[in-house]
Amino acid sequence: ATLDDVKARGNLNCGVSTGLTGFSAPDANGVWQGFDVAVCRAVAAAVLGDPMAVEFVPTTGQTRFTALASGEIDMLARNTTWTFSRDNDLKFEFVGVNYYDGQGFMIPKELGVSSAKELDGATVCIQTGTTTELNLADFFRVNNISYEPVPIETNAEAQQQYLAGACDVYTTDASGLAATRASFEAPGDHVILPEIISKEPLGPLVRHGDNEWGDIVRWTLNALIAAEEYGVTSANIGELASAPGNNPEINRLLGTEGELGAMIGLEADWAQKAIMANGNYGEIFEKNIGENTPIGLSRGLNAQWTDGGLMYSPPFR
């Protein structure tokens, strides 16, 4: 089973994107950083007790599924949209959603476009190898307007093409648009159109058939989300863990009460370690892509359900 393999190996093989601003990228020291990376670290911390015991395997849009199917990686935490066919036809198991995204459009302000419906005849830069091009084709077909797709392999090229005016519009997931815009010299000259033409729930996935492992990854993600909900942060977790409080849910989450850890074959303090790795979901968000980072994404749909968002962890009991 995957869990045993990971334990025997002593590290987690986690597939990430070869580079997506805010989600996964190596820093100057070669340490991978980002929103997706944090999920991997949390799982590693939960399973092995060491958030650094992760071997990051960069994957492209083309190679990611094969890498997972062949067992080269234990889990894939790469902006991958959860779709019916990927779940069933490709035989994977999405364990949850760590970011609710949607495909949007970015366009220079000076073109004076305020709605995607006005894009008739526009040249659209898209990143290939994802669901993006399918959504785009559907959107324009349904609205019966024409467009000229310019497929681009990497974000860097797309950015360069867009800035040079080789395409009028750049479309990719809204988070990517925000990240791209943040890197412009004059971000204010570009607007992201209000239309979000697709649902892109991004989440980690594992192979079909190894449900124990799937559960571990699923509940690690849930633990991060729940921790935010309960106000467990990396700052107060030590305190909360050493002295069990009066919130039984927190106690169960942190392993001070109940046997949840044993049920998924981990130590009792697995969630505690997972949260300590990078903080809770909110902290991870703020640190990597939140409003105080250059990328500056607002929580939006990714806020806790209590705040009107969609982040909702099933109960720990």
Binding site: P151, Q160, A166, C167
Partner: protein, 410 residues
């Protein structure tokens, strides 16, 4: 003839399988064959097993399912509701197109650079050396990306053509060079003979072909005249007339009119759009391969010994005539075989189209289709087969040519 080298009477011995030249080769081949078969069956059984484990099958049915994605550059009808098979076909045509254009331009560039590199102008020959070495020693992928970016950076966006006093204007009012590609006028027919546009163009092609045939006859006649009288009659205006007039008449009859590109909405509309991805890939492939061809051409010309030039000069032939009649025909024999293998390389390298988003067969069948359907095995197999067939066709042509120009020796 009978083999009598073995003494009769002694029967077959097992050791002969190894020590007798007649059986030995059989033994080795049979063993090799068996090993090979074993290897193959091992691979195949592994594949079957693995497919089973993954719950997949081996099925080309996906080719007839709708693809769901759009392709910007297509020479045949296609939309996102067409099948994956059709998408593959669009890709194949695009691959062939860029390979063909690339081979043509690379040859031209290579010949020019190769000849100029031998120029006695120091500056020019140095410059060509820089070109050749620069392109040969940097990965093609980098060049493709760089040229693509350079083209977008150095040409104006369509928006620059807009407004009262636009930053850019169209070349001769008919060509628009933008960072999305080059827009050139197209010809449309107002009173076409056939409803299907294809047949109209076919008709034009036929007439054009007939004109070219006429020109061939004319030139043949001129050659005969030259052989008879020594002087070659001036024929270029006949040739020009023959080339232009019949086609022009046909076009007028069909009510041909220019469709000149003009700014419409976000983009230029009308005319023919040569996309930047095509141009960049085309240029990069041509420049890169051209650098190799330049070396081949240079080598070919150098291989024709200096004595040949001198002999031609001594006979009073002018340098131009010498080049055409003496040097090039000989250099050709040296140049063509490696040239063809460069064509092969270019064709294979066109699979890097992915870097600029040119939708060749690697990007459609081998890219998006595989990605959307998860049919890696089938897709890669088809892709490999396509390239293999293309390569074999090209190298087959090379062998025929080689055989036909072989120098007669004693």
């Amino acid at each position: 003839m009978t083999t009598m080298t073995d003494p009769p009477g002694r029967g077959f011995r097992l050791s002969q399988l190894i020590y007798d030249t007649r059986y030995r080769s059989m033994t080795i081949q049979v063993v090799a064959m068996i090993l090979l078969m074993l290897l193959f069956s091992w691979l195949v059984s592994n594949t079957i097993h693995n497919l089973q484990n993954l719950g997949k099958d081996f099925d080309f049915g996906f080719l007839s399912q709708p693809s769901g994605y759009d392709i910007n550059q297509r020479l045949i009808d296609y939309n996102s509701q067409s099948t994956h098979g059709r998408a593959a076909l669009v890709g194949i045509i695009n691959t062939v197109l860029v390979a063909f254009l690339g081979c043509a331009l690379a040859t031209i560039l290579g010949v020019i650079a190769g000849v100029l590199r031998l120029s006695n102008n120091w500056l020019v020959s140095r410059l060509m050396a820089v070109y050749v070495e620069g392109f040969r020693n940097v990965p093609l992928l980098l060049w493709i990306v760089l040229i693509f970016a350079l083209m977008t950076e150095s040409t104006p966006a369509p928006s620059a053509f807009r407004g009262e006093n636009p930053d850019s204007t169209m070349l001769f009012d008919v060509f628009a060079i933008t960072n999305r590609g080059v827009y050139i006028p197209a010809i449309h027919f107002g009173t076409p003979f056939f409803d299907n546009g294809f047949f109209n163009w076919l008709l034009v092609l036929i007439v054009l072909g007939a004109s070219i045939f006429g020109i061939q006859r004319l030139r043949h006649w001129a050659t005969e005249k030259q052989e008879a009288t020594g002087a070659r009659p001036t024929t270029w205006y006949f040739i020009l007339g023959l080339l232009v007039i019949p086609t022009a008449i046909l076009m007028v009859l069909m009510g041909a009119f220019w469709d000149i590109p003009s700014l419409q909405g976000f983009n230029f509309g009308g005319g023919i759009h040569l996309r930047n991805s095509l141009i960049a890939l085309w240029l990069a492939l041509s420049l890169y391969t051209g650098a190799f061809i330049a070396e081949i051409v240079r080598g070919g010309i150098l291989a024709v010994s200096k004595g040949q030039t001198e002999a031609a000069y001594a006979l009073g032939l002018r340098p131009g005539t010498t080049m055409n009649l003496v040097i090039l025909p000989q250099a050709m024999r040296v140049i063509i075989p490696p040239l063809i293998s460069q064509f092969l390389n270019l064709t294979k390298n066109s699979s890097l189209a992915i870097a600029v988003g040119y939708m060749d067969v690697r990007s459609t069948l081998g890219g998006i289709t595989i990605n959307q359907t998860g049919r890696e095995l089938e897709g890669m197999l088809l892709l490999g087969l396509f390239y293999l067939v293309l390569s074999l066709l090209i190298s087959g042509a090379m062998n025929i040519y080689n055989a036909s120009v072989k120098l007669k020796e004693r």
